[in-house]
């Protein structure tokens, strides 16, 4: 039944796209986020769904869309350079077969992130992309949220639709993404035009935000808790009623803590006391190994270079019985452990040049969104109220991702590359449509022409 519904849903989007080809772009976003071919067990598993919608989205734009407003921004050029560089490191990779496997999805995510801004010509398209990204992720988040409420969580045990650990179905990744989209949900609820703000929209938004906050509890991923804390602090920077928001956050935390499962509070305790936790100790050992590796291989070892590592580290357990405290040290030997951090993933796999490109791409996004916020926040026109809040939401989502990716290897996570695509699209759109900027450019041009006329 689910299989038939998913197939019908995709056919529906495919059919509507024949009237408005932009819907194929939205359908590709959905396919890449939800991956219905993983949930399904029928026809969708046998056809290349992702490839079909990627081709439809690209051909739809190429053949039918108006390309006069398409601009290639600096950050798209950075994405292009990163794509070329990753292609080069794949050819010279330490583990060619494994590297080729990762490259097979990374190049698609990068190409789509370069392509997406070209299609974002109108305000409604920018909103539609964010809406589809949020609603697609909401399928997984609502599922995880309800299961967590029902007590079905646990580290590596929360199951979303299927027993799969790829893409957004991995606990730490969905925890980071669920928290990162909270600012976007709020923006859609306040400024959305597809679903204009009313009590139903706010009720759904509140429920979805609650489900997002439950995901780190359900997955027991420490990354999610750190992301949630950072979101709360960052949100206060631009919020208007700070005292009220702080009070609400404190009240929510006080109500929630007694209901948290003991396994969750125990696991979150290891954030502080990471010496006793093997998972945390492995990460630190891998990161040390990566720093040594990149000194010997400054251009990186290609995708999946972590497979070369062999690790030896100690875990320290402290057991207190009465007045006696016993310290137990255990030496653990391990190998082929993943980077567990996007920064070290980029350093190890792509070396210093790839890491530099990637970091510039991330930081420039935060700077661009800050510039947009400052440019638009004091405007008073009726059609000038959505821009600054959207820039803030995208910036917050990006900062949360950058903190979350300290502990998870999600440097090329397609969802985040889509967010970067939206940022590029918004930057380009506002630059083009901002009448004040246009007037300034026209004045500068006129002054230059006048100056040249006077000199001649």
């Amino acid at each position: 039944m689910i299989d038939l519904c998913l197939t019908g849903f995709l056919c529906f989007y495919l059919a509507l796209g024949s009237r408005r080809p932009f819907l194929w772009v939205l359908a590709y976003l959905y396919v890449d986020i939800v991956a219905p071919q993983i949930i399904s067990w029928g026809i969708l598993t046998r056809i290349p769904t992702s490839l079909i919608f990627f081709t439809a989205a690209f051909l739809g734009w190429l053949l039918f869309d108006d390309k006069r407003d398409a601009r290639f921004t600096g950050r798209q050029f950075l994405l292009f350079l990163l794509l070329i560089y990753c292609g080069y490191t794949t050819l010279t990779a330490d583990w060619p077969v494994e590297a080729a496997e990762k490259w097979s999805w990374v190049w698609k995510a990068l190409v789509f992130a370069i392509f997406l801004p070209l299609t974002l010509r109108t305000r409604l398209r920018i909103e539609a992309v964010i809406l589809v990204m949020v609603l697609s992720a909401s399928a997984i988040i609502i599922d995880g949220g309800i299961k967590t409420l029902g007590g079905g969580g646990g580290y590596g045990e929360l199951r979303f639709f299927v027993d799969n650990n790829t893409g957004l179905y991995e606990g730490s990744i969905i925890s980071c993404v669920a928290i990162a989209i909270i600012p976007l949900i709020l923006w859609l609820a306040k400024h959305g035009t597809v679903f204009p703000p009313d009590w139903r929209v706010w009720a759904f938004a509140a429920g979805l935000i609650f489900a997002c906050a439950l995901i780190p509890v359900g997955t027991q991923a420490r990354t999610g808790l750190i992301c949630l804390g950072i979101l709360c602090v960052l949100y206060l920077r631009t919020a208007k009623r700070r005292v009220l928001i702080v009070s609400l956050m404190a009240a929510a935390a006080m109500i929630a803590i007694p209901f948290l499962p003991a396994s969750y509070t125990k696991r979150m305790g290891t954030i502080e006391n990471n010496q006793s936790d093997q998972s945390a100790s492995t990460r630190i050992a891998v990161w040390k190994w990566t720093l040594g590796y990149v000194r010997d291989h400054p251009f990186g070892g290609g995708f999946e270079a972590y497979m070369s590592n062999t690790l030896r580290f100690e875990t320290v357990h402290t057991v207190t019985t009465g007045s006696t405290t016993t310290v137990e040290r255990q030496v653990i030997q391990d190998g082929g452990r993943a980077f567990h951090s996007s920064y070290f993933e980029m350093l190890g796999e792509q070396g210093f040049p790839g890491f530099g490109l990637w970091l510039t791409l991330q930081l420039s996004g935060i700077v661009q969104m800050e510039l947009l916020r400052r440019r638009w926040r004091k405007r008073t026109g009726t059609d000038e109220q959505w821009q600054a809040p959207l820039a803030v939401s995208l910036q917050l989502a990006h900062v949360i991702y950058m903190f979350g990716s300290l502990f998870v290897g999600i440097a090329f996570q397609p969802f985040v590359l889509m967010l970067i695509g939206v940022q590029c699209g918004l930057w380009s759109y506002l630059k083009r449509t901002d009448t004040r900027v246009s007037v300034k450019i026209a004045q500068r041009r006129a002054a230059t022409v006048q100056g040249m006329a006077q000199t001649t």
Partner: protein
Amino acid sequence: MVDAFALAVAHGLLVLAAIRLVMRDDLDDDHPKPRGPLGGRRAGKNPGQDERP
């Protein structure tokens, strides 16, 4: 049951969003020309409105 509910809510909203988007002229143009009596676009410009921003 939970899986079916989560899928139904998200996909139901995605279907509704697609229908609303298809019906909106500003999906492809921020300042669309007004529709004619039979639903077609008029050849002229919208009075008092520039064709492009």
